[in-house]
Symmetry: D3
Amino acid sequence: MRPSGRAADQLRPMKITRNFTKHAEGSVLIECGDTKVICTASVVPGVPRFLKGKGQGWITAEYGMLPRSTHSRMDREAARGKQGGRTVEIQRLIGRSLRAAIDLKKLGENTITIDCDVIQADGGTRTASITGGFVALADAVKTLVEAKKIKENPIVTQIAAISVGVYKGVPVLDLDYPEDSNAETDMNVIMNDKGGFIEIQVTAEGAAFGDEHMLGMLAVARKGIAEIIELQRQALFSEAK
Amino acid sequence: MRPSGRAADQLRPMKITRNFTKHAEGSVLIECGDTKVICTASVVPGVPRFLKGKGQGWITAEYGMLPRSTHSRMDREAARGKQGGRTVEIQRLIGRSLRAAIDLKKLGENTITIDCDVIQADGGTRTASITGGFVALADAVKTLVEAKKIKENPIVTQIAAISVGVYKGVPVLDLDYPEDSNAETDMNVIMNDKGGFIEIQVTAEGAAFGDEHMLGMLAVARKGIAEIIELQRQALFSEAK
Amino acid sequence: MRPSGRAADQLRPMKITRNFTKHAEGSVLIECGDTKVICTASVVPGVPRFLKGKGQGWITAEYGMLPRSTHSRMDREAARGKQGGRTVEIQRLIGRSLRAAIDLKKLGENTITIDCDVIQADGGTRTASITGGFVALADAVKTLVEAKKIKENPIVTQIAAISVGVYKGVPVLDLDYPEDSNAETDMNVIMNDKGGFIEIQVTAEGAAFGDEHMLGMLAVARKGIAEIIELQRQALFSEAK
Amino acid sequence: MRPSGRAADQLRPMKITRNFTKHAEGSVLIECGDTKVICTASVVPGVPRFLKGKGQGWITAEYGMLPRSTHSRMDREAARGKQGGRTVEIQRLIGRSLRAAIDLKKLGENTITIDCDVIQADGGTRTASITGGFVALADAVKTLVEAKKIKENPIVTQIAAISVGVYKGVPVLDLDYPEDSNAETDMNVIMNDKGGFIEIQVTAEGAAFGDEHMLGMLAVARKGIAEIIELQRQALFSEAK
Amino acid sequence: MRPSGRAADQLRPMKITRNFTKHAEGSVLIECGDTKVICTASVVPGVPRFLKGKGQGWITAEYGMLPRSTHSRMDREAARGKQGGRTVEIQRLIGRSLRAAIDLKKLGENTITIDCDVIQADGGTRTASITGGFVALADAVKTLVEAKKIKENPIVTQIAAISVGVYKGVPVLDLDYPEDSNAETDMNVIMNDKGGFIEIQVTAEGAAFGDEHMLGMLAVARKGIAEIIELQRQALFSEAK
Amino acid sequence: MRPSGRAADQLRPMKITRNFTKHAEGSVLIECGDTKVICTASVVPGVPRFLKGKGQGWITAEYGMLPRSTHSRMDREAARGKQGGRTVEIQRLIGRSLRAAIDLKKLGENTITIDCDVIQADGGTRTASITGGFVALADAVKTLVEAKKIKENPIVTQIAAISVGVYKGVPVLDLDYPEDSNAETDMNVIMNDKGGFIEIQVTAEGAAFGDEHMLGMLAVARKGIAEIIELQRQALFSEAK
């Protein structure tokens, strides 16, 4: 029934490749079906002005799509001279979500920037960015610990994200582009590794939705997140960096 | 227990003043406690390029805060030369929400812009903008019908919004600033007049939240929205424009 | 003979409401007929870089119009990414005019920003901004004196402004929009409470003008300013802030 | 008594060189003492969008200073990415003033842009721009007439400008930089060749000013403008272009 | 003697992967040692305004680096709101070079945009962009021919590029970052498949250089380009797209 | 055979006027035939952030064209809000070239900005800017030496530049606009006073070029540069500043 033939609660194949590029403290290629995002985590000593002297660190995120990551070429935001509204909205969501993974006090006065650059888009780029961004963040944090720049690992929980939706009346997991553009409702769920919610955004794409769809979507999301948390764990415990 | 002394499921006094300014097709001052937003709806014939020739209309929204609507003065976005990320995020939410009120086909090739300008902020400016924006939109649409520029009233449902949160462990309705800045979880709910959800955004401000808080917040939101829908109705049926 | 039926030297009804919003050190709603402007004065310790270490303060102004304060909706300057030429010209005039009210040495190293936001426009927004801005400035200065942050009140004079013009060959006071768009000559006059001129700008809108019109306009301006100075005084001496 | 030793009502030596550069339809170097401005007039068929189909032309102006035209180097506006407030204010004044020279109906659907670029500044750059810009405009208009693109010469009057001020209590003509930075009052006067005023801007630089100074400044301005009108005439009637 | 142990005239391993992403008409990953660039070619019907109605097509290029493609994180150009000078310089070079590959008349009124996005940088990103960009361009052109949108293949020659330099007094081929940052002279050479030069840019990084170094660099460049032309050919003739 | 009737290796008349404007530490008008550029050198104590504390100075350049320096009026870059790609490319070339003239250590922590503003363009504006910019730089450096702000003259060599090209199959020196727009190949050569190359940029404008044209162009360039070096010397040794 789904265009991809997947079961309603079935994830697309997800692959997390660490150390994808060589310069960043954390660098991950995350592939969720045909969606591919490079997530790098860059550590810089110091914090933004509004945090100066508060004895804590900061996590921030930036998001971009290569102009031809999508079906038709989009304008390059650097050439247009500003980031679009969707970009801004997404990078704020990634930053908020990943800050929930960290005890900022234990991070010390360091800033970690998560860059999420979509090289191929097929739905779910923002949730892939959060899931992959967490792994890059974990690797970057490890370099700080190993270099003894911070005493304790500041990560307090894993963070993972997935999109779900109502497609032809049925709650389905991990929308690809053909589903995403036809779904009646679209939900992005960000959770931690204890099953707690960090952020939920649900939008009716046509008709309003009710409690039963809400609960149905949350159920498939919960199942999907559990699998993703496990995939992150496997990636992080695979052969050391 | 709440700083304002309100009951957990009690709205702040809400006042909707129509025809607040004289030029706009729809002009509303909405006051939710100390939060005050001017919402105007402006009708222009024609549609944006991406809708040309599709035989439908468009609803869009812009949001701004007067520099000193807040406790400390913020930079004027026009002077800085760009809208901040929060502004962009909010105006996209207002636009999406209000488009759910309208059958865009019946609107014809007209564009209605909803401008929401906060003159005093005390929490809940984005939900006040949606609630007040709907009333301005309804007035603007009425001018089109009365001028016989469109045949049928394209409004399909009322749209209203409210913020809820978990404050000291308890789900509470309609956060003011002192609560908003201390809430554990913050939720914005947009609903129609049939009790259907249009959009929900929930963010954990510290610890993650679970299903029980989610359900508790939705319950108080549902109660609040029902009251707001009624207030909108009274405002719209009060002495004709 | 005037569209409004006023006498040639008659002001529109002017109303000055202090403490219009709650956060600003000075907050005034000024209404001149249908022209309505919110003027707030915000105090921040410190001065711009070019005044560092000179032992004096600074007064600056910013001006904006809500997009639908006018007959047709204007683009939002924050969304366009820059302030228009008219806006820049006006806010520079407001700043210059209000600096004449103050002994900047006595202000100490404090900066006061006057934000003038037009919520409804019907001619004369720049002069209303100056007149209302002075009252907001006076209130803001009082908070500094009362908090003993400065020793002496630095206000040296009241500042008020009015537009005048030649309409159908006759010098008239306080142009509203229908007159403004048909006047042969348009003059903005800024004066202090001793009858001294601070700034005068006169523009021929069609034919050039001569000395007699110049003197005629100055005479009605002088009369109008005297009345406005008195209205400011009443507003400021009304029940204490 | 004046730093330059000039009499109170004495202009600096003014030199107008036509055909200063070779590409523009009108190109003038104007020198007022050490102030040097290149004024070019460029003709382009067509009018801005807001004038389409109204059967008239348009005159607009742009102003710039070379970064080291002044005592200290200023930032290049093109590199900073925006024109400063002073620049915007000045180019709007030049445009308004020169439009008074022309019957826009007779200009047909043509746009003439006056570019005023200051290569050396010593006070009075905006008035020099207007005076020189008029001569460039006259030359550009002549090319349209000679090419028979318009039937009738649309120039209805000469336009000239000068700065005057009160310096050590005395009204003086044509301020150079040392006077300009010490004057008590600063006035820019734009007039036509019949002695009519086009625009007057007067600013108190310290104390307010009264009628007597106003009249004194206008008197010296009137004398100066008469001389400048004659200098423009000589320049324009000198050996044909 | 070279940090990499390569011979003076030895290229780094170069790998060209076609069809790297799925949406673009041409999509290539080019790897030159540790330098990795994604080059996509996007076809859009129509031409820029300045070519309208001339019966020809256009090739243009844009270049970007992911923020952490380099050793330290660079600011994201989209967030800063403008492309840096180096970016602009490089994308103009890529565009000029690739236009030499095509008979623009035979391309018809189509525009092909070559996007070159560096995901990992280790010297030579601009020449890798040109070499990889040509392959992407060839693939994109083939889709036009196969879809019978143009009659004839407009490609007139292969285009390839390489950097050379003088390192410790010796002309060397294909500088990696450690050499690039220490070279005395730095040259980028763009050639066609007949051994003709398309563009050469040489810069002395310290002392000036003479004819002998110039000729030495051109000789190693010529050898390297011949090898790259062959690698492009193999890539293009490998299993059909 | 050349449109101007010049011999293939003949420069246009070149005139270098020092002290062209009065404020800058170095100010030169360079005229190469009808190409006219004002080059000023401005000294400011201090260095950009990336050089702080390294005990050296910096040379940078900015380039601009007056809007009507060209045949048709170009948009003013300050009004458009950004510098075009060609401008950026040229000012980076000027800066790199002139830094080769100076021992930056001996310059001390001073920054010299070379502003090159084209007032009339007829081909070769970038090379004229470098040639004239060097003379302005030399004058500015002299003011530092004479004011004893630096001990030793940091100039290590003269720098001069010229354009050459292949026109109707023949290498020609110093292209004017009619040649430039028809040349088959276009080369800009920057050299020092010992005949060493600083930078060479060659671009095929149509067909590729081979070694013989390359060598032919370099030969005429070398001859031209020798003459220009001599003209710079004469200008600098003419009556003291």
